[in-house]
């Protein structure tokens, strides 16, 4: 049987949500439509129809404006105006106008109701709130891009080849060594009742027992490591890999319900890992020259590509790439210390910006600084200058190019004792000037990489104590956070900007990720939260009055969706041997991605509006 009105059917069949309809429903669909034509400048929806249709733009363009005349949305070919049939997400106060001669398909609400019964996906499109749609989009992005996700989603307990090897807390060092030998393992866990008290590795036997001349009759607990990180038995392999890389350990106790379950070793991971991410970490540790390090870092884009292929979340990819940067930095500092000798006074090397936020991608610039003990004397700067230059040059050689704004430890301004750092921040917070705001995305996101963490914590404590509830400063920061606005959406092959202008490409970093990062920073500073990662900041802020749970979850999903799109875009570029960037051509986005992005943009806009009214930002214009 021939399908009538095949042109209309084919038009519908290409677009979500209609593409989700079963064949038969799709074939019948054209017959249920009405067609109307609006001359440009006519009102939309047409005044003489009752409000019982959804409208689909077949050709032409419709602008929707709020009561204040501000452009809200622009509908082009294939876009749907569902408002008259929708019970949720009802947006009041639209004034629509056809801005081109426009042909519209009208689908009556009762027919829509019947169609919703034929397909769950189709139904969800109309029934879900924006929040649910975003949540599903995040899940969907991961599910659809999973080529070889299997090995990354292996749970830790599946990797354990041997049962847990442990001894009781009052056993001797010799008994520990015997147990290890019997089981042919390189580590043993020390058990105190059900609980894990510590672990002993081959290395501990060597360094803490034999080298120290300690008797092997002594209790094993004297040489065990007690400040232990562990991992739950059902954690994903990628978590274990990241944790071990970050901690530089080859052994990680695995717990089930808080009890000893087994020991995960680097070789368990290596056996499973058929790619190079674990090897990059190892190669970095083994590097003795900047050339070695630079060679290891060349594989960083591959790591990003691999993780992206493996459908890791953007959160995890950011964490892994940042982890590697930390390792490279630490290795460089170790090399510098070998060359220059021990530091004259304690210091901490801190990273700023995306590295501190754990949101790096494989082509980030470097942002760093040195916080030095207040005992610093002027003559010590020769040492720290040499250290900073060695490390920043090394990072540059490894592909982390110099910060264009010179926010680096090699710049004397950012190589200062704790006291001066506190003064800097006090100045920025008390008198927020444009310079301070410019630096805010770097220095208000700080994380320790190497050295004396206490110095970092002292500074962070002092900053947060000052920013918390500091209305004027937070208002300045909020105003700054609103500099980067998401687009309204997409119109044909363009990105639709606020004032109705068009962009040819979508700068996914500055129009998608940065707005959320900026919002999270404002919330963290306002509430005195120490977190630096954007997702962590949002989660922490949700426990405070500054951020509702719903808005927090929406922002988190919006960020994850946008960040995954960015990762996929960059993965594609890496695959094609093109240097990765942040510019997405709108026509490379699927209809569904556009729809989800629009939802994400709405979430960001709505939070920006909240900040705007909370801090009465009209005044800062």
């Amino acid at each position: 049987m021939e399908i009538e009105l095949v042109e209309i059917r084919d038009f519908l069949a290409q677009r979500p949500p209609f593409d989700a309809l079963p064949e038969e429903a799709l074939n019948q669909l054209p017959k249920t439509l009405d067609i109307r034509y609006l001359r440009r400048e006519s009102a939309f929806p047409p005044a003489d129809t009752d409000d019982s249709f959804i409208y689909l733009v077949r050709s032409g363009a419709i602008e929707l404006r709020g009561k204040n005349g501000k452009l809200i949305e622009k509908l082009g070919e294939g876009d749907i105006y569902p408002v008259p049939c929708q019970l949720v997400d009802l947006e009041q106060g639209h004034n629509g106008t056809a801005v081109e001669d426009t042909l519209l398909y009208l689908l009556p609400c009762n027919k829509l109701g019947e169609l919703r019964k034929t397909s769950a996906t189709f139904d969800q499109h109309f029934s879900e709130s924006m929040r649910e749609r975003l949540k599903r989009a995040v899940g969907g992005t991961r599910a659809t891009s999973s080529n070889n996700a299997a090995h990354m989603s292996v749970e830790v307990h599946e990797l354990l080849k041997k049962p847990a090897v442990f001894i009781n807390v009052n056993c001797s060092i010799q008994q520990a060594a015997q147990r290890m030998t019997e089981n042919n393992v390189s580590s043993v866990m020390i058990r105190d009742g059900d609980k894990l008290a510590g672990i002993i590795t081959d290395r501990d036997l060597r360094k803490r027992c034999i080298a120290e001349g300690l008797s092997s009759d002594q209790p094993a607990r004297l040489i065990m490591s007690t400040s232990l990180e562990s991992i739950p038995h059902n954690a994903l392999m990628i978590h274990a890999l990241l944790l071990m890389t970050r901690l530089h350990v080859h052994h990680l106790p695995v717990l089930k319900d808080g009890k000893i379950f087994g020991m995960l070793t680097a070789s368990d991971l290596a056996r499973q890992q058929n790619t190079n991410s674990a090897f990059i970490a190892t190669d970095i540790r083994k590097s003795n020259t900047i050339e070695d390090l630079a060679r290891a870092c060349k594989r960083l884009p591959d790591l990003q590509l691999h993780l992206s292929n493996a459908s890791a979340s953007a959160l995890h990819i950011g964490e892994s790439v940042s982890c590697i940067t930390d390792s490279v930095t630490r290795r460089l500092i170790e090399m510098a210390e070998v060359k220059l000798g021990a530091p004259p006074v304690p210091y901490v090397w801190v990273a700023g910006g995306s590295q501190a936020r754990r949101e790096q991608t494989s082509h980030s610039d470097q942002d760093n600084a040195l916080i030095i003990s207040n005992k610093l004397k002027p003559e010590h700067d020769t040492y720290f200058a040499a250290l900073a230059n060695f490390v920043t040059d090394g990072l540059n050689a490894c592909g982390y190019v110099y910060c264009p704004g010179k926010a680096m430890a090699s710049n004397p301004k950012w190589r200062q004792p704790l006291r001066v750092w506190c003064e800097y921040f006090n100045g920025w917070i008390d008198k927020p000037d444009p310079m301070a705001l410019m630096l805010s995305s770097i220095f208000f996101d700080l994380g320790p990489v190497y050295g004396d963490d206490n110095l970092f914590e002292a500074l962070q404590g002092s900053i947060l104590a000052k920013t918390k509830n500091n209305g004027i400063f937070i208002a300045y920061m909020a105003s700054n956070a609103l500099q980067h606005r998401p687009p309204l959406g997409f119109f044909r092959t363009f990105v639709l900007i606020h004032d109705g202008k068009h962009d040819d490409t979508f700068d996914i970093k500055h129009r998608g990720i940065v707005p959320i990062t900026d919002i999270a920073r404002v919330l963290a500073l306002a509430e005195g939260l120490p977190a630096t990662n954007t997702t962590d900041r949002l989660r922490a802020a949700m426990q405070t009055p500054s951020l509702s749970e719903e808005m927090g979850e929406n922002l988190e999903d919006a960020l994850e969706f946008i960040a995954i799109l960015r990762m996929n875009h960059q993965a594609e570029q890496i695959r094609n041997g093109v240097p990765p960037d942040n510019y997405l051509p709108p026509n490379s986005l699927s209809e569904l991605e556009r729809t989800h992005l629009k939802d994400a943009f709405k979430v960001i806009q709505s939070m920006q509006e909240t900040l705007e009214s909370r801090y009465q930002l009209g005044r800062f214009g």
Partner: protein, 230 residues
């Protein structure tokens, strides 16, 4: 010949007086729409025929497609598309366009079965056609042959409307300018690839809505007389 100088309503009454009971009498009994009827209240049927050629004396109707316009809205639930069985062989040149082969035609119904339905759907309505003389002449010839009466119906011809528009603007008309699918882009109407009687009827209906919207900012307030072809 005199009929050409009478208006459609007079033609209808004249023909009605000569026609005995049956399909044709029913058709001719329905009064024509008043010229000052508002467009929004007129019932318009957009019609397209596929034929084996251009001469109603020699060629046959292969199919018709139609769609109704009410309140200046195209109602796709009113569409009809019928293929008609013909005795003659379908020339390849035309089969390429309308995709109706001898086999498909043979599966259709004979004209005498299809025509009464078509006439019932057109009775009392305004017929909308692009280049109306084909539809007018073929249906008229069929009516005269089968029922001995003329086919009289108020008609809107989008080709004539386009021609008037060009002339009003002193545009010289190029060959092909007045074809349905060359006119549509001028009104920002989408390209259609398929050519059958139904999709052409819908395409014509859309073109008419666009032309009406161009003529009157609120097309539902225009009168049908502004568009009728006399």
């Amino acid at each position: 010949m005199l009929e050409r100088f009478l208006n459609k309503e007079s033609q209808r009454k004249r023909a009605l007086a000569k026609t005995g009971p049956g399909v044709m009498r029913d058709f001719l009994s329905a009064p024509h729409v008043e010229k000052n009827t508002r467009c929004s209240e007129a019932e318009i049927v957009s019609l397209d025929l596929e034929t084996t050629g251009l001469d109603p004396a020699k060629h046959s109707i292969l199919s018709y497609g139609l769609v109704q316009i009410d309140n200046m809205t195209i109602r796709l639930d009113s569409t009809r598309h019928e293929v008609i069985s013909v005795v003659e062989n379908i020339p390849e040149a035309s089969a390429v366009i309308h995709q109706i082969t001898d086999d498909r035609s043979a599966a259709g119904s004979p004209l005498e079965e299809v025509l009464p339905d078509l006439l019932r759907m057109l009775a009392g309505k305004v017929m909308l056609v692009h280049y109306a003389s084909i539809e007018q002449n073929f249906i008229d010839a069929a009516c005269r042959r089968l029922y001995g009466a003329p086919f009289v119906i108020p008609t809107i011809d989008t080709l004539i409307l386009a021609q008037r528009r060009f002339e009003r603007r002193n545009h010289t008309i190029q060959i092909g300018d007045l074809r349905l699918f060359n006119l549509r882009p001028r009104y920002n109407l989408p390209m259609y690839k398929a050519h059958n009687a139904l999709s052409d009827a819908v395409a014509t209906a859309e073109l008419f809505l666009a032309m009406a919207a161009e003529t009157a900012p609120r097309p539902e307030n225009c009168t049908i007389g502004q568009f009728l072809w006399h």
